[in-house]
């Protein structure tokens, strides 16, 4: 395999392997080693401009570019789906600049770059999960000054975060944070799990795979080594709980996966469907059927309205 990827226009070398130059990759790699050594701590790095806008996963792309090798198989998901614009374009980006194999199967991937979900299928030790992170600082909305949030992390001064969760309870009767739900890593650093639904927080705890987080605009990288304690913040009398649904997936009938609500018409009809497309299609291939699957008889019982228990 070639270390450079030719530009088809004039057949000259256009890109280094995986787009970034070697010195940039080394800088990111050093950052990654520090990040795994200090779980949950945000390591600053000299984030580069990527050929995609901020907000489209430039942090995750830089982490993936530094980690990926010619033998890797890459899967990219956006909100759990392999076939959305962001996922497709990043997958094609690495297929083009690194000439690596890509897949939509969670089990076949060695590197999974994700926006806002963790795959339903349990990840293995030989897999790496790369998160795209918009705002890495969990305290940012409580304290806008970076100098102050640095101090708060240094002094383990996290009382303000508990006050915020308490105010949720005072106002709504329960903790109303449903995504980017803050976690405590290895009893030391409060970390933003990126805007994953809190449904996914328990999967981070003691995960066998290495988890890397890249924030391109904010130029921060952080990490969770495998088998690291990750606890969602809560109170004794208001313990952390995840979303649950009265409905099942309309396509595969799953009751244990994170469901997206799909509005079907303007008459209040809706369906719920797995957000993890690979999980859903694997279940369908195994013969599982939901009531709204196209090979099920029409006019089956409609799903009930407003079935998500946890309030948004």
């Amino acid at each position: 395999m070639e270390q450079t990827v030719n530009n088809p226009a004039d057949n000259t070398s256009a890109y280094n392997f995986a787009y970034l130059d070697e010195q940039t990759k080394r800088m990111i790699r050093r950052t990654l080693l520090k990040a795994v050594a200090i779980p949950g701590y945000q390591v600053p790095f000299a984030g580069r401009e990527m050929p995609m806008p901020y907000g489209w996963g430039t942090g995750g792309v830089q982490v993936t570019a530094a980690v990926i090798g010619p033998k890797d198989t890459l899967k990219v998901i956006d909100q759990g789906a392999d076939d959305t614009t962001n996922a497709v374009s990043i997958r094609q980006f690495f297929a083009k600049t690194a000439n690596v194999a890509t897949t939509e199967k969670t089990a076949e991937a060695s590197i999974i770059q994700t926006r806002h979900r963790i795959p339903e299928k349990e990840l293995r030790e030989d897999q790496v999960l790369v998160y795209q992170v918009p705002i890495p600082e969990p305290l940012r909305f409580l304290e806008p000054r970076e100098t102050e949030t640095r101090k708060m992390h240094a002094l383990e001064e996290y009382g303000l975060m508990h006050v915020k969760l308490y105010e949720d309870i005072a106002r709504h009767g329960h903790i109303a944070t449903t995504y980017a739900y803050p976690v405590m890593v290895d009893d030391r650093y409060v970390m933003d799990p990126s805007p994953t639904p809190k449904f996914d927080n328990p999967k981070m705890h003691n995960m066998a795979a290495l988890q890397l987080f890249g924030a391109g605009r904010e130029k921060r990288i952080y990490a969770l080594p495998p088998y690291t304690k990750v606890k969602s913040l809560d109170f004794e009398d208001h313990p952390f709980e995840v979303q649950s649904w009265d409905d099942e997936c309309g396509m595969c009938g799953a009751r244990d996966s994170y469901l997206d609500e799909v509005i079907l018409d303007d008459k209040g009809n809706r369906m719920f469907v797995c957000s993890d497309t690979d999980y859903c299609s694997e279940r369908q291939d195994a013969g599982h059927r939901g009531q709204q699957h196209h090979d099920q008889p029409l006019g089956g019982p409609k799903s009930s309205p407003s079935s998500e228990k946890a309030a948004e």
Partner: protein, 202 residues
């Protein structure tokens, strides 16, 4: 007068800069995220006098003009410094408190390790990484490791690791989140100790 670069006695670096550095980095990343687990050096490389192959590979993969390297007296041979200056472009410092990467042999005087930068409370990442060259790395029961990256426990045995290292390491662990991370490099194997790892010495 023309400058004659003395490249005739230089050893080659990576055969494939992009792939070899990636392979070595992936081993270092795995080693650092699973402290105490032992990995094989994934590539062939010749080491200059003063360094061993794994330490050379680690430096070539990770060090460049942005990182200051400190070499212990037995490592700082002419060949080793020339090799690192040519292939990495790294500044080599005689001042251990300036080091981003410090390289030493486990059987020499380790009193320098107390002076390695450990970072600050606000920037604990601004710390040194110690690359310690050792004769052999096995999963013998000498050290039992726990902490992030370790499912239950990992066993690690580093041949000839002095007591002074363990004394320093205990103090280093208590500095968390500050501290120095250690990469053990034998001629064919690599293992790492993250600053989070708790060590029970038998």
């Amino acid at each position: 007068m023309t400058l004659q670069p003395q490249t005739s006695n230089l050893l080659p670096g990576f055969e494939h800069a992009a792939f070899d550095s990636n392979a070595v980095f992936r081993v270092l990343l795995d080693a650092m995220s699973r402290p105490g687990r032992i990995y094989d050096l994934p590539i062939n490389i010749t080491a200059p006098d003063g360094l061993n192959t794994s330490a050379t590979a680690a430096l070539l993969a990770m060090a460049d003009m942005d990182t200051t390297v400190w070499l212990s007296p037995t490592c700082a041979t002419n060949l080793a410094t020339t090799h690192l200056k040519f292939h990495c472009g790294s500044p080599i410092t005689p001042d251990v408190s300036q080091a981003d990467f410090a390289v030493a042999r486990s059987d020499e005087d380790l009193s320098f390790i107390a002076q390695l930068p450990v970072g600050t409370a606000e920037y604990p990442d601004q710390s040194a990484t110690l690359i310690l060259m050792v004769d052999d790395i096995t999963d013998g029961p000498n050290m039992r490791l726990r902490g992030p990256g370790i499912k239950d426990t990992h066993s690690l045995d580093i041949k000839g690791l002095p007591v002074a290292f363990h004394t320093w390491r205990t103090e280093n662990h208590h500095l968390f989140p500050c501290g120095v991370d250690v990469i053990f490099a034998s001629s064919t194997k690599i293992a790492a100790l993250s600053r989070t790892t708790r060590i029970e010495v038998k």
